[in-house]
Amino acid sequence: MTVALALLGWLVGVAFGIAAVAWWWPRQANRSRPWLMIVAVGAASGHALTSALYYVWLNSLTHAGLPYEVLEWAVLAAVSLGFWQTHTKASRPASTAPADKSNDSAQARRFTVGSAVAVCVCLVAVLTAVSLIAMIVADPHGRWDAWAMWNLKAKFMYLAGPRWTDLFIAAPHSDYPLLHPSAVARLWVYVGIDDPGGPRLLAWLTLLTAVGMLTAAVTHLRGAVLGAAAGLLLMTTPQVLEQAAAQYVDTTVGLFIAGALALIVTAWQSEQAQARRGLLLLAGLMAGSAAWTKNEGIAFSGMALLALGAFGLRTGVRSAWRDSVAFVLGALPMVACLLSQKLLFAGRTEVIDPGSLDRFLTQLTDLDRHRLIGQALWQVVVHEPEWVGVALAGLLVVVGGLRLDRKTMRGVALVAAVLLGQIGCWYLVYLTTQADLPWLLSTTTDRLFVQLWPGFILLLCLPARRPGVTPSPAGTAGTTDRPS
């Protein structure tokens, strides 16, 4: 019963997110709407937006005596109404011309291959779901950070009423953003008790959403087979499953990072400025959600904004400025929550406090620290990814044909720059922190991997041409033989 009620709470959030994203997603003439992508982005957005809504309610509306469920259902109804009105007014997309007979056999073949891929991926998904349940059974309250910090904070947010802010004194790391505790507390509102089933279910569903997001994004950008391969690669990375079962939030950060990057690349494929900015606004929402999840997400948001501005300069300063503004506007709701938490409640961030200037400069030039960090990061590269799977996916991309047109390469460069920039930020933090470096490295590098891994899989798939694409005469992008 507990799980069913928690699932209901999660589904309400997801419905809210899907309605909002479907309402907002730009309509383009002669193009069907990418519903898989809309559902994935909607699920992630719903998770983040309802968490922010709970935080706002806790801050301002608990005193007014308004039950949280009433507020949430009212917002959901308003968004659904908006979506319904827009949807019914919008003209149906023009029907695509029937495929010619020469494409029929190709379609049939693709159907067979597609069916086989779908069966395999579903099988792996079932095994992954069973694995995660078994891992959660083995470690029912997650690992240290889950019960000593995330879920403890959620307890304050659910149980302590107006005194919930005492969590900033009672629980460790008061500077950590509150997306996850807020989301857990929100599920407990639906359950009616602070049952550990809530965070367990959320861990399970977050991994599902992350896999869904990556699969949907790659499917939208590079076709269903590669999308399935990307999802498969994520599901078969043991570290990702372990972190999810530990009820840590790095899977959530990875979900939002991959979502933001995929939306930026999708936006750049659009010819219409308005549609592009609509998608960049959603990308901003994803980046803001990453920032509202963990401090690393703040670095990511800054990096993504910088990259967006820098790479956008090719199209002119004014266009780059407007794109950046759209991105910032999307991030604004989450950034507002984050700022209120940081300014009103949070303590200092211990890990990135460099101390005195002398110490900072000494550590910056300390070769032993560079060596330690380099070794730790190398260990991650060697041990964390499922390298055989990565090699096969890379081979699949190369054999399927590369797509090296200017737009694609710009997307690849942006994603690579942001991910490398994120690693650079971590490197700088490791170098200058006052915390015990070996301890910090041993406890955080695997999380860095989980945060960035979905983005790297996206990067791996981006240079691919869609399977079955006919190369264009110029040998560049080619044209797809089916609508996107």
Binding site: V130, M135, H141, W147, N151, A170, P196, T236, P238
Partner: protein, 151 residues
């Protein structure tokens, strides 16, 4: 850069065959890896004894057995809110609800609130007698929330 489809030596049919082989290998590898992960996870889950209650599970698995476990920082919340002598029954229930984390392991009886985890109630009683602490919440066999006796 020449692309496979544009290279006359590699026709689309060959490329397609290679692509299918790589895809099959990728799927097979994915199935194999997820099966191994699943079997390992099921094996690990079968080994873990089923226990109820967060405090018990956590204390017994993360802290050395037979020790008094230091106060959780969450307990300090209650202590700050109400003065020491005014801890009400509600506050004590709240302590039990919030006392999730053995933040650090200590056997210092000067700590105002202490979580203790012993093998059984007898060991817990002996500790209470020896350290001038009172049991304010009995969370399970050998497991209790303790308060220093004020003089």
């Amino acid at each position: 850069m020449p692309q496979p489809a544009d290279d006359p030596r590699h026709g689309p049919r060959l490329r397609r065959a290679m692509w299918l082989v790589v895809l099959a290998l990728l799927l097979a590898r994915g199935g194999w890896v997820s099966s191994v992960i699943c079997l390992n996870a099921l094996h690990a889950a079968a080994k873990v004894p089923q226990e109820d209650g967060l405090v018990e599970v956590m204390l017994r698995r993360l802290a050395p057995a037979g020790e008094a476990l230091g106060d959780s920082q969450s307990v300090r919340y209650i202590q700050r809110e109400s003065s020491y002598s005014k801890v009400t029954a509600e506050a004590r229930r709240a302590i039990a609800a919030y006392a999730l984390a053995p933040i650090r392991v200590t056997d210092d009886p000067a700590e105002p609130f202490t979580l203790a985890d012993f093998a059984d109630d007898q060991a817990l009683a002996e500790y209470l007698k020896a350290n001038e602490v009172a049991l304010i919440a009995h969370l399970g066999p050998g497991l209790g929330l303790l308060e220093a006796v004020k003089r």
